[in-house]
């Protein structure tokens, strides 16, 4: 028994120690990347930032700086891709918003975005205002709040009807949070950014007819992949096949 406890403790120490070492390495790469950026060595900066991401860790600032580095290299597709990724972690960062929209403004546009109703836009803005982390925490905190308030109504001996009504409302709001969280996850799953300029084809074959242009930095819905090909849908609803190296999942 004592042996098992010691093993678990040792394993925990190793995990924590390993995580700290990884964090230290990531921090070192981050600082080196920043130095390279400041000296105008954007390729080098990209290498350092990418090294952090290859290890599986990262932060909104790393993705933002990587986006900036690509922007300076005039690789708008990669810049927008990393800004998009950063927005999922730090959605309310004003610097990020400014750079992201500036990068978007430089992208050629072949299609108008679809018209959305007021309600839909409000709902999407509300979803985008928080990161998936925050939505997950929000859903749990709401659940706790629902539990506490419902137990309070029991303890305070509210009439059954009032108690049921209060519980119903709280549960409904909690379910709304859960729904928002699920939709946020769903939205984050199926989108990609074009990292190069190409033509989307009707079929996943090189000799197929071109259907529409895919501009570098354009956001598309990633419908499915088959071998080296990916089926994408442009915001105007047009669907086509492109080689996978032209799109990267956000």
């Amino acid at each position: 028994m004592i042996g098992k406890v010691l093993f678990v403790a040792l394993a925990s120490c190793l995990v924590v120690g390993s995580a700290r070492a990884q964090e230290g390495l990531a921090l070192s790469n981050f600082v080196k990347g920043n130095s390279a950026y400041q000296e105008g060595h954007y390729d080098e900066a990209i290498q350092y930032y990418e090294a952090i991401l290859r290890e599986g860790s990262g932060s909104g600032a790393v993705l933002y700086n990587l986006g900036n580095s690509y922007f300076k290299k005039k690789m708008l597709g990669k810049a927008v891709l990393n800004y998009e990724r950063a927005r999922r972690l730090i959605p309310r960062d004003s610097d990020l918003e400014s750079n992201y929209h500036y990068a978007l403004s430089l992208i050629k546009k072949f299609s108008d975005p679809p018209q959305k109703g007021e309600l839909q836009r409000a709902w999407e803005n509300w979803l985008d205002y928080f990161s998936a982390d925050e939505w997950a925490w929000g859903a749990y905190v709401w659940l706790l709040l629902t539990v506490v308030l419902h137990l309070l109504t029991l303890w305070l001996k509210w009439p059954a009807n009032s108690r049921r009504a209060a519980a119903g409302v709280l549960i409904a709001v909690w379910l709304l949070h859960v729904f928002a969280f699920m939709q946020k996850l769903s939205d984050e799953e199926g989108y990609a950014v074009a990292v190069g300029e190409t033509k989307a084809l009707f079929e996943p074959r090189e000799e197929s007819t071109a259907h529409f242009d895919l501009v570098e930095g354009g956001r598309v819905e990633l419908l499915k992949t088959e071998g080296d090909w990916a089926k994408v849908r442009r915001p105007d609803g047009k669907m086509g096949w492109v080689r996978r190296e032209f799109v990267e999942k956000i």
Partner: protein, 630 residues
């Protein structure tokens, strides 16, 4: 809602004031929290309902009627204008709004109240009324009203000479409207006189006249004076209102009718049942003091007046004529007369006189190679209009500010006239050596010159990188995607359900005494049997049987929810039979009762071997009942 909940909460904790207060406070806090959480982000939607109601459907001629237009679940866009209602004069009293929360439902009611004063007896109908709420039209149902004779209701207006019944007051109060001529030119200032004649009638609160106009506009407000005048042998108090109208189109236009609303005093007798004071002082005494005077709105209306509006002549119309009609003087001046190049010169203009300057533009200097000019600031001046314009000479060769003219149409001479002022001499000096020429810019008020700031033009680029990495995340495996998060939620829900079940169970036990006693019965019995076992070992016969009987009595009492006095063999046996308990068990019970009674009352007791049997018998009985009988 919160008040009623607080009341219940306090009632449910009668033992402690502190508990009552804390519960009440907590109730309100929880309710408020839920309300804030739920209502603030989501808002609420309600069905909109509109209705028109009156406070009585039958009134006397001397009474008034209150008409209330109510919108529930929305807001009026404007106070509705009532259409003409046959048999009534209407007056708007004011708005009111009410918000209520009932069973958690928030509802708002907005009302507009009108007073309808009957003009004659008969049956009338308030027509269906329409209002606009949030862009949609809503219509009320028509309302039938009957106006009966004033005498029947015991009320009469406080008019001299009135003897009850309906009163024609048309010759006691009326209003007239007049203009001095039948023709006028477009935009000409035309005086309108409105006179309110009142004779031998108590009135108060005379409102300003409401003048209906078609093809003309009027000045805001009225000048008024009061005097006496005899008309047709009758002396009237006259309130005279004077204003001016300005025709806006040519042809025949209609001025009026004009309406004046005032408060008419009515005498209203007390209708309460006679009391001791009436009996003591008598009717006359109280009639003097208790008769009240009630003010009712009354609207009088004049006829309308036609006016023929002539166009301006087309010949000799000056190019700078901008619509000024009347007789005017035009004055102009500049200052200072000597400036350094780049310094401003102020051009002051003033037009005064009798007529209409509403649409007229005062002359101004335009931009030219000689002068840089700024927009003139025009304002109303006593008897006319004035303006100031800043101009800056652009060369030291300039010697004068050009002449300016003001053109208007004179309806008396039926011709256009132009008054010209200037040119104005000006000396422009060169700047002194070392002084640069400065271009000045003026604020929107045109009063204070400021140095012009150079325009900033920069490029656009991205914002610099971040120095701090911020919170590190596992990008491949976010924490919420693992099982931990789901298990945490599941455990919280299970804990919630458990706590709710625990609460329900304890609540049921506290409210269902029979259940609580039945559940506790075996536990208590087990304790009694253990004690009996001890007494058996100590050979304490009397105490053993006392305890055995007590244990048995308490067990059956708790099991079948019987009072202590009701526990006899007959009662217990009846309940055992009802529950189909086998005869052998019932026999055990009978023997136990008999043996216990024999020892307790007769003092004769069986031996130790029998005591052990009795103990086992009771144990078996209880075990059987716990296993088979609920």
């Amino acid at each position: 809602m919160s008040a009623s909940l607080s009341g219940r909460s306090a009632k449910s904790h009668p033992k402690g004031v502190m508990l009552g207060i804390s519960a009440r406070v907590l109730n309100v806090a929880v309710l408020a929290l839920i309300s804030i959480i739920v209502f603030i982000p989501s808002g609420h939607a309600q069905d909109v309902r509109f209705e028109a109601t009156v406070d009585a459907k039958t009134i006397s001629l001397a009474e008034s009627l209150q008409l209330t237009l109510t919108v529930e679940g929305g807001k009026f866009e404007d106070a509705p204008d009532l259409p003409a209602i046959d048999g009534f004069d209407a007056r708007y009293v004011g708005p009111s709004t009410r918000v209520s929360i009932i069973n958690g439902q928030v509802s708002s009611m907005a009302s507009h109240v009108y007073v309808l004063v009957p003009r004659k007896t008969g049956k009338f109908q308030i027509p269906a009324l329409s209002v606009k709420v949030d862009g949609k039209n809503y219509t009320s149902s028509p309302i039938d009203i009957e106006v009966v004779d004033a005498a029947a209701a015991g009320q009469q207006p406080a008019l001299s000479g009135s003897g009850g019944g309906s009163v024609d007051i048309g010759d006691k109060i009326f209003v007239t409207m007049s203009v001095p001529r039948d023709e006028a030119y477009l935009n000409e200032k035309v005086p309108v006189t409105v006179k309110l004649f009142v004779s031998d009638l108590p009135i108060q609160d005379i409102q300003l006249p409401q003048l209906a106009l078609d093809g003309a506009i009027a000045d805001d407000g009225f000048e008024h004076q009061q005097y006496q005048q005899v008309v047709g042998g009758v002396q009237y108090q006259v309130v005279e209102f004077k204003t001016y109208v300005y025709p806006t189109r040519t042809g025949e236009i209609k001025l009026g009718p004009v309406k004046i609303t005032c408060g008419l005093m009515f005498e209203s007798k007390q209708r309460s049942a006679p009391n001791r004071f009436d009996e003591f002082f008598g009717d006359e005494f109280f009639n003097r003091f208790l008769n009240t005077y009630e003010k009712r709105p009354y609207t009088v209306q004049s006829g309308d007046v036609s006016l023929k509006v002539l166009p301006w002549p087309t010949e000799d119309q000056p190019a700078d004529f901008s619509g000024a009609v009347g007789q005017f003087n035009f004055e102009a001046s500049t200052g200072p007369a000597e400036v350094t190049l780049g310094d401003p010169v102020t051009l002051k203009l003033k037009v005064t006189g009798e007529g209409n300057l509403r649409n007229a533009k005062l002359p101004s200097l335009g931009n030219s190679a000689e002068f840089k000019t700024y927009d003139a600031q025009t304002k109303e001046a006593p008897g006319g209009r004035s303006s100031e314009q800043i101009v800056i000479p652009q060369s030291d060769t300039i010697t004068q500010v050009p002449a300016l003219g003001f053109s208007f149409f004179d309806p008396q001479s039926k011709s256009f006239k132009t008054v010209t002022q200037g040119p104005f001499p000006l000396k422009v000096n060169k700047p002194k050596a070392g002084e640069d020429f400065k271009m000045l810019q003026f604020s929107s008020a045109g009063q204070k010159p400021e140095e012009a700031l150079p325009e900033e033009t920069f490029g656009r680029d991205i914002i610099f990188i971040k120095d701090h990495p911020g919170a590190w995340r596992d990008l491949r495996h976010p924490w919420y995607a693992g099982w931990g998060y789901r298990v945490l939620i599941l455990l919280t829900i299970i804990a919630w359900a458990g706590l709710v079940a625990f609460f329900e169970w304890t609540h049921r036990l506290s409210s269902d005494t029979a259940l609580a006693r039945r559940l506790l019965a075996p536990k208590k019995a087990r304790r009694g049997l253990q004690d009996a076992q001890r007494l058996l070992a100590e050979s304490k016969n009397g105490e053993f049987y006392d305890l055995l009987f007590k244990t048995m009595q308490e067990y059956f009492g708790d099991k079948f929810h019987l009072s202590a006095g009701g526990i006899t063999f007959a009662n217990v046996d009846e309940r055992l039979r009802e529950r189909n308990v086998p005869a052998a068990i019932r026999e055990n019970v009978r023997v136990l009762f008999e043996d216990c009674d024999a020892v307790r009352y007769a003092g004769s007791g069986p031996g130790e071997g029998r005591m052990e049997t009795e103990l086992k018998r009771l144990q078996e009985t209880i075990d059987h009942l716990e296993r088979n009988v609920r």
